[in-house]
């Protein structure tokens, strides 16, 4: 048990740090993240530029600080969208069963059959390549997996006797769903949401790489990573630091997610 809280603490520290950086980025950065400087192109990390500069001489640290906001924003909104939509679809589908379930799952499976990134590409063509376009496209692309997981949880829960007990008490279906089924689905939802957060940040970078992400010069960790690729041999810091940021964020989110899941579950609380 001690281990868990320790992990949760690390996760909490990482995420607090991330949020702090994102907020700080609103007001202050060491340099103007957009300012070009041809005298300082591709300079290695030094006292002036802690994390070095990129191919246009822009300060990498400043860009990472500003990019944090975009990446967190995209990750958080995408996951919220997918989690909310997926949970509703999964709940309805698993609880109603019958033809409702059959129709929803048929559509869902068809969407799942597309690679997520391909689906997102198609949707981006519709929504347009900007921050909110990405959020919608990725959110929709991730919804089917969430729906599927929630539906599975609901299917096994609805056979439990406490659901029947709720019926015997005369509770309406909606009440039963919200009061008894949804809270018991929280564990898989949290776990999946935390990993989705990671996918979202990575997918954003992949989309940026294909030129459909947040348009330059605005920095996100993803497009910084993509932009650093051609210079990987001369200037490893261009890819290294944004990549490190993504990795640390994912680590933080996952640790925090696990800790939250255990915290939210009364069964785990008893095991002290």
């Amino acid at each position: 048990m001690k281990n868990y809280t320790f992990n949760g603490l690390i996760g909490g520290v990482l995420i607090t740090l991330l949020l702090a950086v994102a907020i700080v980025g609103l007001f202050w950065t060491p340099y103007d993240p957009m300012k070009l400087s041809f005298t300082a192109r591709l300079s290695a990390p030094s006292a002036q530029h802690w994390l070095g500069t990129d191919e246009f001489g822009r300060d990498v640290l400043s860009r990472i600080i500003v990019g944090a906001r975009a990446s967190v924003w995209i990750g958080a909104l995408t996951v919220s969208l997918a989690a909310i939509a997926g949970t509703i679809i999964g709940l309805v589908s698993g609880y109603a069963r019958g033809w409702v379930d059959a129709v929803i799952m048929a559509v869902n499976n068809a969407l799942l059959a597309f690679p997520g990134i391909l689906l997102a590409l198609g949707l981006l063509a519709v929504f347009g390549a900007n921050q909110y376009g990405i959020i919608f496209a990725l959110g929709i692309a991730y919804t089917p997996s969430m729906a599927r997981v929630v539906r599975g949880a609901v299917l096994s829960l609805r056979e439990r006797e406490f659901i029947e007990a709720s019926k015997i008490m005369g509770n309406s279906e909606i009440f039963t769903m919200l009061r008894h089924i949804l809270p018991n689905c929280l564990a898989p939802i949290t776990v999946l949401s935390t990993s989705m957060f990671g996918w979202a940040i990575l997918s954003e970078s992949a989309l940026s790489f294909l030129g459909l992400g947040v348009p330059p010069p605005a920095p996100t960790w993803g497009n910084m990573l993509a932009a650093g690729r051609p210079f990987i041999e001369q200037a490893v810091w261009l890819g290294l630091f944004p990549g490190l940021c993504i990795a640390l964020t994912l680590l933080g989110i996952n640790l925090l997610g696990d800790a939250l899941r255990d915290k939210l579950d009364p069964r785990m609380r008893g095991l002290k």
Partner: protein, 542 residues
Amino acid sequence: MTQERLLSVRDLSLVVAQRGVEVVKNVSFDIEPGEIFGIVGESGSGKSLATRAIIALLPPAIKVTGGQVTFKGRDILTMREAGLRELRGAEIGLVFQEPMTSLNPSMTIGRQLEEGLTLHTNMPAPTRRERILTMLQRVGIRDPQGALSAYPHEFSGGMRQRIMLASVMLLKPALLIADEPTTALDAVIQRDVMELMVELTKAEGTAVLLISHDLPMVARYTSRIVVMEKGSLVEQGTTEQILEKPQHPYTRKLLSSLPIRGEVRAIDTVSAPMISARNIVVDYPGRKSLFNKATAKRALHGVSVDIHAGEVVALVGGSGSGKTTLGRTIAGLVSQSSGEVLFQGRERSANWRDYRLNCQMVFQDPYSSLDPRMTILSLVEEALRLVPDIDRAARKRRACETLEEVGLGAEYALRYPHELSGGQRQRVAIARAIARRPKFLIADEPVSALDVTVRAQVLTLFSDLQKRYGFSCLFISHDLGVVEQVADRVIVMQDGRIIEQGDRNTIFDKPKQAYTRRLLSAIPALDLNKTGGVKLKWRLEA
């Protein structure tokens, strides 16, 4: 004398390695060749762990801290793995509780039975096959040839347990360990399997170590018994001694927890019944596929039941008899294909809300009938949510009172179900059901998942509450002992039909149907004696 002993356990102690909790404390007993020896105890008594130590199959978290286990003069606890493997199966056989999971579902019966023979003997294949066929025949498998290429799921629970027994007895072990071998089976099948086990082991001269929580069952077949409580051995002796003159208070408590026939109560059966189910037919739709039309399976063939005010009616029968379906239909969880359910003389759908308020249910499994994410108090409060004319404060007060009534004080109110024992959870389930003061309660196997002493307490609680509030009750159970204690009237079901019904004493003393007799033959009639012991009489031995 010591030389002849088959198995000798001396001062065996086991602890949970991480937490240092002693789960088995200084347990000693001996088993002679060919005898049937019983270990009785409730869950948590350490009876299963103690026997796992005998074959060195303890879970990794459990460590032996002391004692000796000697089998045929060999010390098992210091033996190497290779030696143990030769012993297991060949010398010591094991039959588990759950016939559903102890056979490998993806292997044919034939291959599973052959496994042991190839491992421990060097018989040629045709001889092996012959031995297996003979054995299958002996355990009562109708088509042994066909069974060889069949998979476990094609057999019922009782048949699987027979096959399990066959696979163990094929190797003619010197000792058979049977851990709750019949707990998962119906009463009638339970008896058949036990008889078969005794017959087979007697023929081969195999000693049996029978582990069970069911004292009468153990008493019936064993010559000597040890009683375990919380890891300690509290009493041992011949079966007769222990039953008739129990010394230890715990043994007395176990014996006094056995259900005893309740008194006859006067029930008003003249006025209109509280609940009246008429000609209920229930069909379960079959599986539809693209080319096959669904064929419905009829679970109830026109069943009628009347339950009067204040009456406890027991519904008994084996699995598949339709008793649970009938209960769930009356509860409104299953909809009938035809027939009607009248509540206080009116079709229940005329005032469904009123029916819901007055008809409540207690489920079998207290582990799954309570929402794990809600506190005890909120679970009971929820039952009052739809009751008219009761505000939030009154609701809370009533919930607390009800919890108090079922013996759970204020300190339990904010706990979660997983923090309670099985018996306490079932108390919560009962509190939830009676909080509304219903006129009618359906209890589906409410005490089957509980230990003997806890079962007795919950039954007493149930009777007390029933007396106080006078609700009618449909009590569904396969355990006739329990039924004998609580029921005013008994209905026996088989294959979706009612085959016999009448007041309790008539059914128990003068059953008419052969099936009822067979059900009854599985439970003992008890006479309490002055020394705190009991005399077990088996009904209708012939």
